[in-house]
């Protein structure tokens, strides 16, 4: 059972583009290991925050869309929590029973 999820990450603005790419690569690795796949990476860029987070007033937002089995979400969130440079995240379920087009 694969569902479609959306994850919005708030990354540190001090991270370079290599640091961001590295985080995305590790997350993609975790997702693919658990039997899902990354569908979309939506880069919002640096935005002003509504309130300071870890004393920073700006942050880098990245929105991910992914297909993942439900049991693997807690593992993905555990990895997100222990990764340095990710300030905040939110996971939202978009749809049940995601069926890939090339099935």
């Amino acid at each position: 059972m694969v569902n479609k999820y959306e994850v919005l990450l708030l990354l540190s603005p001090e991270l370079g583009s290599e640091g961001r790419q590295e985080i995305l690569n590790t997350l993609t690795g975790i997702i693919e290991r658990d039997g899902g796949n990354m569908l979309l990476v939506d880069d919002w860029g640096i935005r002003d925050l509504a309130y300071p987070v870890q004393k920073m007033t700006r942050g880098y937002y990245v929105r991910l869309e992914l297909a993942l089995p439900g049991e693997a979400v807690s593992e993905l969130e555990r990895i997100i929590r222990i990764t340095d440079g990710i300030f905040k995240f939110v996971t939202v379920k978009l749809a049940d029973k995601y069926v890939p087009e090339e099935a």
Partner: protein, 86 residues
């Protein structure tokens, strides 16, 4: 008689039922901003006229938006206010 002239308020309607194209999710804080006070409190639906179904999702999305620092929890935490006080 003066008090015979009764004040009839304009009919309120749910903005999200009226126009299905308005995005109601946490990624659009500019839409959600109309449904909180300037101090950041969620306005009850008896004032905004939002229907019960949409008010429930509105509340959920405002809370998600706050979580991701797209909206502030309270104005005293807001970046604008903090900049002014320094």
């Amino acid at each position: 008689m003066a008090y015979k002239k009764k004040f009839t308020p304009r009919k309120k309607y749910c903005r999200f039922c009226e126009n299905k194209d308005i995005p109601l999710d946490y990624k659009h804080p500019e839409v959600l901003k109309d449904f909180v006070t300037e101090r950041g409190k969620i306005i009850p639906r008896r004032i905004t006229g939002t229907c019960a179904k949409h008010q429930r999702s509105l509340t959920r999305e405002i809370k998600r938006s706050r979580q991701m620092a797209l909206m502030f929890y309270t104005a005293t935490h807001s970046v604008d206010v903090i900049k002014k006080t320094i």
